[in-house]
Structures are given as structure tokens and as C-alpha cells.
């Protein structure tokens, strides 16, 4: 789960990491009020979760309070990549001499957290990482021994810092680690961490991604997620509420399956046969009939869906439960769109019996089923 910039900065500030002074506004008068408390020039930043906000015009600079108000007004009436801007963050503009990168994320291969730092941060970081990977310093964190300020100082030295700046960077990086651990961050980064002309460091931008699997112990954000403050479509929100993995795609064949790999392979197969999937929906392992019914509800509520492909290979998921879920959904929402169902695995016989008795035809081969649903979708 992505946090908004203002949320991330507020957390960093709580831990003593220097961030620009600022405030959040949801309307223009609020924005002006905040600006009055600050020293110009200002930066006014749209609070949206989509990437590429800057390039999309979501960050404006202003020299005066009226200008800041106008910038806020402009942003609050804007959509960025289709997402309406609901709030803006107004802060004092930092005089940046240099942009650094500091972050902590997961190293899957080494099964650990990894601290990442670069003396060349900002927009350039991805390019640097690709073209001059030796300029990006990586430090694997042993979970049993933790990340200490001396680790951070060793990294700061490799970034070319010494003296007081090395000490300051060390403290900032150690604090970033504590934020990351305390908030179950999958990714936490300051990019850029700005070095000012007087040699201080300020987190000019910050990003925190909370591990969704840990939201049960990050109740504050779990609640926020479910309150729909994030940029989700109706279907995505409903899926999130029900812990279903759903991704909207731009075709017309609704897909429901169990297991991310199988669902992806289903999409691949549909495409292989010339069809276009409308979504990815993974019901996960051991889905109950209620869950299957909810999944059907979500996929069918997308008006682009012309036909439905349910591909279940039962392991922990039981085919009889899936069958009951399909019948339940049929009863409740009255499914009228054509369905192709492929059902094999645990309790397969019982599942097939239930559906067959209800007059629903079940196929056994995924490829046969894919070909069939592509055919239907083109009618």
C-alpha cells in the first residue's frame, strides 16, 4: 500500500528526519492559510499516488501567497492520469545544491532488507542504476543484528561524505531504517534527499510502501486504505475490501482463477488465441463459495466484460465450493453474460455434479476453454 507524500513526510518528521515545513490543504482557502505560516517561495504538490506526478504537471512553484492559492486551485481541479487531485501539500521550497538517494527495500534473492544509497539521486536515479550501477551502494541488512548508524556512516563515506555531514547522514539513514521496520515498509525512500547550500540534508520527497501482508498490524493505514482514500476504481476497491487480487486490463474477457501464476497463464493463453482479457482476478487459495460469488460480482460489474472465463485448478481450493459460489452469484446477481468454466482438482467430481445439475457446462482443458471464450468474445 502506497502512502501519500504528506503521510510519508509526516512520519519521517516524527522520527526526527528533516523535512520541508509544510501543510496539507483540500481547498484553496486552506492552502492560502498554510502559505501564510510559511516562508516563500513555496512548492505546491498534488497528493496523488500515481507515478510521474511531476511530469504530469502535479508540482507547481510559487513566489507569493496569492500565487500559492492559485497553484492549489489549479491542482485541485486537475486530474493526473485520470485520478482527481483531492488534496495538495504546500511546503517551503528548499535551496537544493545536490540530490541524493537513500532507501531501504527488500532483496528477494538474499532474503533480507537492503539499504540503498547514491550520491546522485532525484529523477536520475533509475538511469544511474542502469548505466553506472557501481555508483549505487547496496548494503544487506542482517535482520538479527539490524542496521546501525555506523553502517550508515560507512555508506555515507562511500558516497564521498566526511565530517559533520557524514554523521548527519548516518543519523538520518538509521532513522529511516527504524521507520521502515516500525511501519513494515516494503520500500521506504527519500528521493531526492536534498543537500542544501549550507550543507544540511532535507527529505525533499519521500515514498513509503507498506507491506500489504502486514496491514493487520498497521491498523491506521489499513483503515485509510479501506476508506477509499487511495486511487482505486470501484472494482479495485471492492476487491481490496475482500482481499482479492484484482487488476483492471483493457480487454473484454473477464477472468477469475485461483493462483497468480495460473491466472497469468490464463491471460497469456487468452492472448495467445487472439482474445483480450478484461482483468486479472486471483481468488487465492481455499476460496469459499461466498468469495467466489464476490469475485463474480466484481468482474461482472465491469461493463466492458463480454464473456467470463473461470479457471479453477483445485488444490487448497475445493471445486465444490467454487461450484456453489457460481450458483450463488447466479442467483443473486443474475448472471446473463456467457460463462466458460474450467474446473479440475480437489473435489472435482462434486463440483462438476453441482454445476452440471444446474445446467452449466464444465470443461477440463484450459486451452480448449480459452479458445472457446475467445470465440464467444468475438461474436
Amino acid at each position: 500500500m502506497k502512502l501519500f507524500e504528506y503521510e510519508a513526510k509526516t512520519i519521517l518528521a516524527k522520527y526526527g528526519i528533516p523535512t520541508p515545513i509544510g501543510g496539507l490543504a483540500t481547498n484553496v482557502s486552506q492552502a492560502r492559510e498554510i502559505a501564510t505560516e510559511l516562508k516563500p517561495p513555496f512548492v505546491v504538490k498534488a497528493q496523488v499516488l500515481v507515478a510521474g506526478r511531476g511530469k504530469a504537471g502535479g508540482i507547481l512553484f510559487s513566489e507569493s501567497i496569492p500565487e500559492a492559492g492559485k497553484a492549489a486551485e489549479k491542482l485541485l481541479n486537475m486530474r493526473i492520469k485520470g485520478i482527481p487531485v483531492r488534496s495538495v501539500w504546500i511546503e517551503e521550497k528548499i535551496q537544493i545544491e545536490k540530490e541524493l538517494y537513500l532507501g531501504i527495500t527488500i532483496d528477494r534473492v538474499n532474503r533480507s532488507h537492503v539499504a540503498i544509497a547514491s550520491a546522485v539521486g532525484g529523477m536520475a536515479i533509475e538511469e544511474i542504476a542502469a548505466k553506472a550501477p557501481e555508483k549505487v551502494i547496496k548494503f544487506l541488512i542482517n535482520p538479527h543484528y539490524g542496521f546501525h548508524s555506523f553502517h550508515a556512516r560507512q555508506i555515507a563515506r562511500k558516497m564521498g561524505y566526511s565530517g559533520k555531514q557524514l554523521v548527519t547522514l548516518g543519523k538520518i539513514f538509521e532513522k529511516l531504517y527504524h521507520v521502515g521496520m516500525d511501519y513494515d515498509a516494503e520500500l521506504i525512500e527519500m528521493n531526492p534527499l536534498a543537500e542544501t547550500f549550507d550543507g544540511e540534508f532535507v527529505a525533499a520527497d519521500a515514498r513509503i510502501l507498506i507491506d500489504n501482508n502486514a496491514l493487520f498490524r498497521q491498523q491506521e493505514y489499513k483503515k485509510r486504505l479501506l476508506e477509499g482514500e487511495s486511487e482505486l476504481t470501484v472494482q479495485e476497491l471492492e476487491a481490496t475490501r475482500n482481499n482479492l487480487a484484482y487488476v483492471k486490463l483493457d480487454g473484454n474477457i473477464g477472468v477469475i482463477g485461483n493462483g497468480a501464476g495460473l491466472v497469468m497463464a490464463t491471460l497469456d493463453t487468452i492472448q495467445y488465441y487472439g482474445g483480450k482479457p478484461a482483468n486479472f482476478l486471483d481468488v487465492g487459495g481455499g476460496a469459499t463459495s461466498e468469495r467466489i460469488a464476490t469475485a463474480l460480482d466484481i468482474v461482472l460489474s465491469d461493463s466492458h466484460v463480454k464473456a467470463l472465463f473461470i479457471n479453477i485448478l483445485g488444490g487448497i481450493t475445493r471445486c465444490d465450493e467454487v461450484a456453489r459460489g457460481i450458483l450463488r452469484a447466479k442467483e443473486k446477481v443474475g448472471v446473463t453474460k456467457p460463462m466458460v468454466i474450467r474446473l479440475v482438482g480437489t473435489n472435482e467430481e462434486e463440483g462438476k455434479r453441482i454445476l452440471t445439475e444446474a445446467g452449466i457446462h464444465v470443461l477440463e482443458s484450459m486451452e480448449e476453454a480459452a479458445q472457446k471464450v475467445v470465440e464467444i468474445s468475438k461474436q
Binding site: N213, A214, A260, G261, L262, A265, G285, G286
Partner: protein, 289 residues
């Protein structure tokens, strides 16, 4: 034979009294897996399908000398359950539970490494050495003994391909899922190494997916170490648009590495045959041998 599990496994089931734990215990018993005991804190003294249940792993091990544990405990407690098994010196742990917090998984894997234990999962369908031992939730009837080792990042996709192999009379030595969570105990390379040493395994099926760079690293390993057994691969997610999350964190496309094309290219240059559809794997295995 096969790898990691065989007839000598004596298992316990942690979370045996839950719906999934109980259901799959019955299926594993039916398959002939030796399950000595179950553990569910608070349910000690009861029985599930004739298997005695204990409050703690320690208590179970006072009665039985198990060497493996399969875990069905809910995600917030699953890493702790695995640590409990490891601290009580169980050497092979299979974690069926999905969505364990990354921080917990990182801690767990560091501990497992320290005590040199094998962890399969989390978010794995488990492991099966057909007709010898099944510690997992896979439908048993789609497997048959044979010479093909299978390793996968995906659960149900493994069943898809295993069933297709069996239909084509290609039996399996051992099939196992690495697990779909971001942090898993084993990676492809660990399993390929084991398959290389296993006399029963003649060739290997590797089922990958988009996200991360495990497949790329594996391709590098196969090429560099001159891997001695034929490998056939399938990579899910060719049709995935870049930047979209498909189900679990594993499926984020990151730069060039992580995309399906990149993985397929890497594997092909390492001499691996890559199938276009799941059903092509059986055909390519025929050619590979």
C-alpha cells in the same frame, strides 16, 4: 528417492485443527504420508483423523521424533510457528500459509539459514515425491512417479503442467513450489542443485513468472555451471502490461529484468527450452530427452 522428502519423512502438521489443516491432513494421510502428530495451541489432547494434537511442538516431539513440519497456521502467526519448529530442531518446514508479512519472513529465513534447515514456501502448494510422500495441498491424482523434477513459483500452474505431464505418461521425481510470497526459503538454484544430485531425476521443469530476477539468475547459473540435466521452462505473464501488479508482489515488472521476454531470452540463451503454453511443456520434454 526424489529430493527433500521421501518415505523416511515423519511429519507434524502445525495448524492441524483449522479447516485447511484438517482437510489436507486427511488427504496427506490417505496418500500414505506419515503424520505423527498435529500442533494447535489450545487444542492439545484432542485428535484429528486419528492424529494426536498437542499444544506445542515441544510436547509433540516428546512423543514422536518428527523430522518435518507442514504449516497451515494463519499468516500473522505462521512465521512464529515455523520458528517454533526450527527451534525444536525440525529440519524441513513447508509453509502453506500465504501473505506472511515480509519482515517476519526475513527474520525466519535468516534463522533457518543459521540452523541449516530447509524451508519450502511460504505460499507454496508444498512438495510431493509421487507414491512416497506428499507434504502439501496439491491434488494427488495428477502426479505419478517418474524421472522429471518440477520446481515452480506458482501453485495451481504447477498442477496444470503436472497433470499435462501425467496425461502424457511423463512421471515426476519430486514436484515442489518455491512459494509465491516475496521472500521464500528456497530458490530455483537450490532446487536445481538438489535435482542434479538425485539419481531418479532425469530432467527438470522450471515454472517461473514475471517479477524479480530469480529466473535470470537461474539462467546464469545453468549456463555458468554447465547444468548437466535438460531443463524445460514455462514463464507466466507474457501478456501482462508493464507496471501492473498481478496478484502478489512477485509479479511487479522492474525495469528490463523481471519482464517475461527478458526471462525467456535469458533462459533460452542458457540452453533451456521455453514453452509457449502450459501444454507445450510435455512436448518439449520429449524433445529435450
Amino acid at each position: 528417492m526424489g529430493i527433500i522428502v521421501d518415505k523416511n519423512i515423519r511429519a507434524i502438521v502445525q495448524g492441524i485443527t483449522g479447516t485447511q489443516g484438517s482437510f489436507h491432513t486427511q488427504l496427506m494421510l490417505k496418500y500414505g504420508t506419515r503424520i505423527d502428530a498435529g500442533v494447535t495451541p489450545g487444542k492439545g489432547g484432542t485428535q484429528i483423523h486419528g492424529v494426536p494434537v498437542y499444544d506445542t511442538v515441544e510436547a509433540a516431539l516428546e512423543e514422536y521424533s518428527a523430522n518435518a513440519s507442514i504449516i497451515f497456521v494463519p499468516a500473522p502467526f505462521a512465521a512464529d510457528a515455523a520458528l517454533e519448529a526450527l527451534e525444536n530442531r525440525i529440519e524441513t518446514i513447508i509453509i502453506i500459509t500465504e501473505h506472511i508479512p515480509i519482515k517476519d519472513a526475513v527474520n525466519l529465513m535468516a534463522y533457518a539459514k543459521k540452523v541449516k534447515a530447509t524451508v519450502i514456501g511460504p505460499n507454496t502448494p508444498g512438495i510431493i515425491t509421487p507414491k512416497e510422500c506428499k507434504l502439501g495441498i496439491m491434488p494427488a491424482h495428477i502426479f505419478k512417479p517418474g524421472g522429471t523434477g518440477m520446481v515452480s513459483r506458482s501453485g495451481t500452474l504447477t498442477y496444470e503442467i503436472a497433470a499435462s505431464l501425467t496425461r502424457n505418461s511423463i512421471g515426476q521425481s519430486t514436484c515442489l513450489g518455491l512459494g509465491g510470497d516475496p521472500i521464500t526459503g528456497l530458490n530455483f538454484i537450490d532446487v536445481l542443485e538438489a535435482f542434479e544430485k538425485d539419481p531418479q531425476t532425469k530432467d527438470v521443469v522450471l515454472i517461473g513468472e514475471i517479477g524479480g530476477n530469480l529466473e535470470e539468475l537461474t539462467a546464469e547459473y545453468i549456463a555458468k555451471e554447465n547444468y548437466r540435466k535438460p531443463v524445460v521452462a514455462f514463464i507466466a505473464g507474457r501478456s501482462a502490461p508493464p507496471g501492473k501488479r498481478m496478484g502478489h508482489a512477485g509479479a511487479i515488472i522492474m525495469g528490463k529484468a523481471g519482464g517475461a521476454e527478458n526471462k525467456i531470452e535469458a533462459l533460452k540463451s542458457a540452453g533451456v527450452k521455453v514453452a509457449e503454453k502450459p501444454s507445450d511443456v510435455a512436448r518439449l520434454l520429449g524433445k529435450a530427452c
